[in-house]
Symmetry: C2
Subunit: 272 residues, 2 copies
């Protein structure tokens, strides 16, 4: 395996770029090939079978790009498809759920953890399963928040409507006296200040993107796969591919990543 | 062409069932094959190329079902793909936009028409183009309402949040003194009472689903394609296919159609 090969990262759309941002911060020398399935988003309301089928196509595409490891930067795909694709792929594959779950289990003092995410992620019960495997007596309270992604994509990050919807979604969790809340969807960190205000300062907010980048760095080091060359890469260090060339992608990418995203290429993911 | 063959109807998801409902009311003898692209919805935020590619696959699937005519029961697909697929298909194909546009042009007294729809439909300018072709001095004011579909799908049909969002979206149109408003997305008739209250009784609301069924009935009659047998059909009169087997589809279908929808079959639309 070529240590200078890129890391593959994928998501249903733009949200996974929050994971890319953390990888760039923590292991700036690595090349990254990102794929956002913008033609078929959102994954959160789709069935397990469909999400697995889509994830397999993306893995096949990333393999053609000669990646050395793969990060599933989408909570729904991590929930439904991670085990399947790990079993089918020789490369190391990590998702966002394990890292987020581990941080939450370490952070909680009263053993009550809340998780917010898409219908798919919450309905799968995956966070509960993973966290209780780490520590059996953890209580996990899940709440799906289907309007958060459309509200973020409409740009209503700081808005009375978003406050009202968030207040309804989160009131259930407040009633459970959780002391830790996992932001179990890559869009949700963009609503962090609203969630922070509603939940209060005593609740620890966990962003799995950060911990996933830590896990990737450790994995590459352990397998002797960290990039050797230490000088900065020029040009093609970060490559972005999408299944639908909506302008939103480039705008969002430029807004959250360091440096301008100059080129995004469209591929026919269905052919993989 | 077999006069007893079914009519094919498709949409990005469940919304097109509002068109099916009108067809059942107006031409109850016809067989219908419905396809909802539930795995790849929504279409409203996707690019023209992607919507055309998806529509072509669906046409190929409907052809395997030996349909005699096709209704594009999705405003976005009608906006982006109708002309292309009409040129490529020997069967008669109708969309929802012409019918809705014609009704609005007949209904307006002051020549100012509003259109609400997805980003794709409004961004395409198709309603403006079609209505001004029918009557050159019509003024058309379009407004995309990206949160309406998620709000409907979240069940917030009568809710203060929906009122607030609708009020923001519609205030622009109220300022234009329109006297006619086209509900240019198949989900929007479900928000009719909210829209009615905000726009006032003096504004005519146009639901293209109704007019599309009228156009289909006339088209079948003119081409000698109306079903001959007049006795009621049993069993397989209505067949429902989807690309993702979410339960939502059957729930929604049963809620809005006469009679229970017993079976919905999943197909791999990407293989067509």
């Amino acid at each position: 395996m070529d240590r200078n090969a890129p890391v593959g990262v994928f998501d249903s759309g733009v949200g996974g770029l929050t994971v890319v941002r953390e990888i760039i911060r923590q292991i700036p020398g690595e090349r990254i090939v990102y794929f956002g399935d913008t033609a078929r988003l959102p994954y959160g309301s789709k069935s397990r079978d469909t999400v697995i089928r889509y994830s397999r196509q993306i893995i096949r595409f990333l393999m053609t790009m000669k990646v050395k490891a793969i990060v599933v930067a989408c909570n729904t795909a991590s929930a439904y498809a991670l085990e399947t694709i790990q079993a089918e792929t020789e490369l190391p594959v990590i998702g966002v759920i394990n890292a987020g779950a581990r941080t939450a289990v370490h952070a909680t003092r009263n053993g009550k953890i809340g998780v917010i995410g898409t219908e798919g992620t919450i309905g799968s019960g995956i966070y509960t399963e993973v966290m209780q495997r780490m520590k059996a007596d953890i209580e996990v309270f899940g709440k799906s928040c289907p309007l958060f992604v459309p509200l973020v994509e409409e740009g209503l990050l700081h808005d009375s409507v978003t406050d009202e919807i968030a207040s309804r979604y989160l009131s259930v969790l407040k009633g459970r006296y959780i002391d830790t809340l996992v932001l179990g969807c890559t869009h949700y960190p963009l609503l962090r200040s609203t969630i922070r205000r509603l939940m209060g300062d005593e609740v620890t907010l966990v962003n799995p993107a950060y911990e996933t980048a830590v896990e990737l760095r450790e994995l590459l080091a352990a397998r002797n796969l960290s990039r050797e060359e230490k000088e900065p890469l020029l040009g093609e260090q970060y490559q972005f591919f999408v299944s639908d060339l909506a302008e939103k992608f480039t705008d969002f990418a430029t807004a959250i990543l360091p440096g301008e995203v100059k080129e995004t290429r469209q591929i026919s993911i269905e052919e993989y």
